[in-house]
């Protein structure tokens, strides 16, 4: 009897231990008074763990009584949806993630005008849905992509000015190639298949959205198709650049980090990439002089594809929604955080904002380009990167097809047809 009870006790103890081990990590407990809130962050070579920790500390200093549990993940809709589906939804998140589906499910808290204080809500702001504000407006924008270039290589090839039309762009490529310099760096290897998007996105945004800024909204409404001439023509330009031998084709197997390193190692003269590269160029100086221009359009304009992202949103089921909003606002409006984000990630700001001191030349050149584009009305929506503009998973589903377009396995027409097919498969029926 005693032996049976001992065995039973041992088995029960083992079960308890096993079930405890199965439990997902318990949130650490803070002090008795602090409210624990989780904050979704995303680390990149520019936005390091130290960057986030300091920015969080700055906000927490302004709003006491909060203990922030940092979640390190990705700033995309699919990742956030995974967290929500698995019961790990963060209390506060940002990073430009499209919020419509969360708003539709009543998962986000609404911001009132009083709560956002002096922050200006621009017209047509994506965070305003049905007249209600669900995300604070971000102060910075991103240009995705611009074309960073090696001025020394340009000089070596006898090129004195960056191109201001498509024909000039082709001429520049030809001159570089004749001088034995690979014109354009591309990426797309390993997990970073997205890096192959830069050149196609630049051309599509410039030629398609540049002609009609509402094109992607019309695609959502079914009024246009990727198989229409304007999109096919843009895809054909990409194919032609590859056929002419203007790409560093080894880049198709390089990761994003290695693609940037390849440009730093002067394996190609031009590097189409988002404006965040400027921050990297200032942090770790290059061995050559750097310039930047926006991809020229067919009609001779240097159009800058811009994303003004969403700021911070708060989970409607956060432990303390009001406190979460106060903290989120403090994070966004803290001057030191603003200055740090500019220096770390190169966010572009208009004339309405004063730039912090100590900014590098690459960032200043990029931001000047942005301010000029805004003044001259030469910005277009970077539709490929505005979350919510395309169905979930659409852009990543097209990455392999972009590689096929670049390496000649797919024609421009077939690529357009593939894009239409994927759009129809992935669009959400309302």
């Amino acid at each position: 009897m005693r032996r049976r009870m001992s065995i039973a006790a041992a088995a029960i103890a083992m079960s308890v231990v096993a079930l405890t081990a199965c439990t997902a990590g318990n949130a650490p407990t803070g002090s008795g008074e602090d409210v624990e809130l989780s904050f979704l962050t995303f680390e990149t070579p520019n936005l390091t763990a130290e960057y986030w920790d300091e920015a969080i500390a700055n906000a927490s200093a302004e709003v006491p009584g909060v203990k922030i549990n940092k979640i390190v993940g990705e700033n995309n809709l699919e990742y956030l949806q995974q967290l929500w589906s698995s019961g790990q939804a963060p209390d506060i998140f940002g990073g430009g993630i499209a919020i419509e589906s969360f708003v539709a499910k009543g998962q986000l808290a609404e911001w009132s005008e009083d709560e956002i204080g002096d922050i200006v809500v621009p017209d047509g702001y994506a965070g305003m849905i049905d007249g209600k504000l669900y995300a604070t407006p971000s102060t910075g924008s991103q240009a995705i992509p611009l074309v960073y270039y090696n001025k020394d290589a340009f000089e070596q090839a006898g090129i004195t000015e960056p191109p201001s039309s498509w024909d000039e762009f082709l001429e520049v490529c030809e001159q570089l190639k004749a001088a034995g310099i690979t014109p354009i760096e591309i990426g797309g290897g390993g997990e970073d298949t997205w890096a192959a998007e830069m050149v196609p996105a630049a051309i599509i945004e410039t030629d398609v959205s540049g002609q009609d800024p509402e094109w992607f909204a019309k695609r959502q409404a079914g009024e246009v198709s990727f198989s229409d001439p304007e999109f096919v023509a843009a895809a054909q330009k990409v194919a032609d650049l590859a056929k002419q031998g203007y790409f560093d084709m080894d880049g198709l197997s390089r990761t994003y980090a290695d693609t940037e390193q390849a440009f730093r190692d002067q394996k190609a003269a031009m590097y189409p990439m988002g404006n965040w590269f400027a921050a990297s160029a200032d942090t770790t100086p290059l061995d050559f002089e750097l310039g930047v221009f926006a991809m020229p359009s067919e009609d001779g304009r240097n159009l800058m594809p811009v994303v003004t992202g969403l700021g911070l949103s708060v989970n409607a089921e956060a432990a303390d929604v009001d406190l979460a909003k106060q903290w989120a606002l403090a994070f966004q409006t803290n001057q030191e955080n603003f200055d740090k984000s500019i220096k770390a990630d190169g966010g572009l700001v208009s004339d309405d904002f004063e730039l912090p001191s100590g900014l590098g030349e690459a960032y200043l050149a990029t931001n000047d380009l942005y301010r000029t584009a805004v003044k001259e009305d030469n910005t277009v929506p970077a539709s490929w990167y505005i979350q919510g503009m395309t169905p979930p998973g659409f852009v990543s589903a097209l990455d392999p097809a972009l590689v096929d377009l670049i390496n000649g396995r797919m024609t421009a027409e077939a690529f357009a047809e593939f894009a239409d097919q994927k759009w129809e498969e992935l669009k959400l029926e309302q």
């Binding site: 079960s15 096993a18 699919e78 390993g190 298949t193 197997s253 390089r254 590689v403 390496n407």
Partner: protein, 315 residues
């Protein structure tokens, strides 16, 4: 009470007490068995069977993570699968990887095990060396090989140094990328096959081999008539493990090629399940893919196991 009754009671009492003790012991063993098995079974049911059933149920809906609600669609998802060129391509890729990852490590693993089945410190070192890759995570192995195999990676730099002007695009050439990924997997699982075959070899009585040698059987004949038949259990284990592993490949594809280069070149079933369910949010359709994957793996595994178990010889 009469003497007879006393005797009867005594005998019956002893037998009865014995029967009672036997029943009590049996009940005790059942109770012990239950106490140890039930918690594990409960966890298995909760974490494996219940999600499996939920996935099958979800596969009959148009559930989407980015949308409220889900409607019952019956077998529509399954009908869509058989007409989906992306799924069919992923199925083809998966079957090819499973075949390569089953055959190559097993053949090479057996050969290496035969060579290492000797005494000596050098053979101990070699056995450990072959086992090290399996200890590493698939992601770590894939990151390392991805760096080595890219167009300007270590392998091609070495080939260029030896005078190969235009080395292959191991991960960028759509015609060979699938075999590249398969090779990385073979490299990693080879160690498991070697270790299991070594254990099998060491379980073969030496006397049988000596007797065969005395009877004039050469090495090849001894292998064919003694060693290989007695290795049947090890063959079964290795083939089943590598076959199932081959059908479930995800990590290596994700890290080395992310399904590319190009459309569907190295997509596998597991990769497409994640892509469709997580990236695109089409949980219903992804669940249908996962269910089909489960059925295929279960069917193939059972058939192969039955065929191989017929060969197994008991001593």
């Amino acid at each position: 009470m009469t003497a007879t009754e006393l005797r009867t009671t005594g005998v019956a009492g002893t037998a009865g007490r014995r029967a009672t003790r036997t029943r009590t012991m049996r009940r005790g063993r059942v109770l012990q068995f239950g106490i140890f098995v039930v918690p594990g079974m409960a966890i298995y049911v909760a974490l494996v069977l219940v999600p499996m059933v939920m996935a099958i149920v979800t596969s009959t809906t148009d559930s989407n993570q980015f949308r409220l609600g889900a409607d019952f669609v019956g077998i529509d998802n399954y009908l869509r699968l058989v007409q989906d060129p992306a799924f069919l391509r992923a199925l083809g890729n998966t079957v090819l990887i499973a075949a390569v990852v089953t055959i190559v490590p097993n053949v090479l693993g057996l050969a290496i095990a035969l060579l290492l089945d000797r005494k000596g410190w050098i053979f101990n070192v070699l056995r450990s060396a072959f086992f090290i890759p399996i200890v590493l995570s698939a992601v770590v192995v894939s990151v390392i090989w991805g760096l080595i195999l890219r167009d300007d990676g270590l392998l091609n730099q070495t080939l260029r140094w030896f005078g190969v002007a235009d080395p292959p695009g191991w991960v960028s050439d759509p015609n060979i990328a699938l075999f590249t990924v398969s090779s990385v997997i073979c490299w990693q699982v080879l160690g498991v096959c070697v270790v299991i075959y070594l254990a099998g070899l060491q379980g073969i009585p030496r006397e049988l081999l000596e007797a065969a040698e005395i009877d004039g059987a050469g090495p090849a004949t001894r292998f064919r008539t003694v060693t290989f038949p007695l290795l049947a259990p090890a063959v079964t284990i290795n083939v089943i493990l590598t076959l199932i592993g081959g059908f479930k490949v995800y990590d290596q594809v994700k890290v080395i090629t992310n399904g590319g280069p190009g459309v569907g070149t190295t997509n596998t079933l597991a990769f497409d399940v994640v892509r469709v369910s997580v990236d695109s949010g089409q949980v219903g359709y992804g669940s249908a893919m996962a269910t089909v994957m489960l059925v295929i793996i279960a069917f193939v595994s059972i058939v192969v196991m039955r065929l191989l178990q017929r060969r197994e010889v008991s001593l």
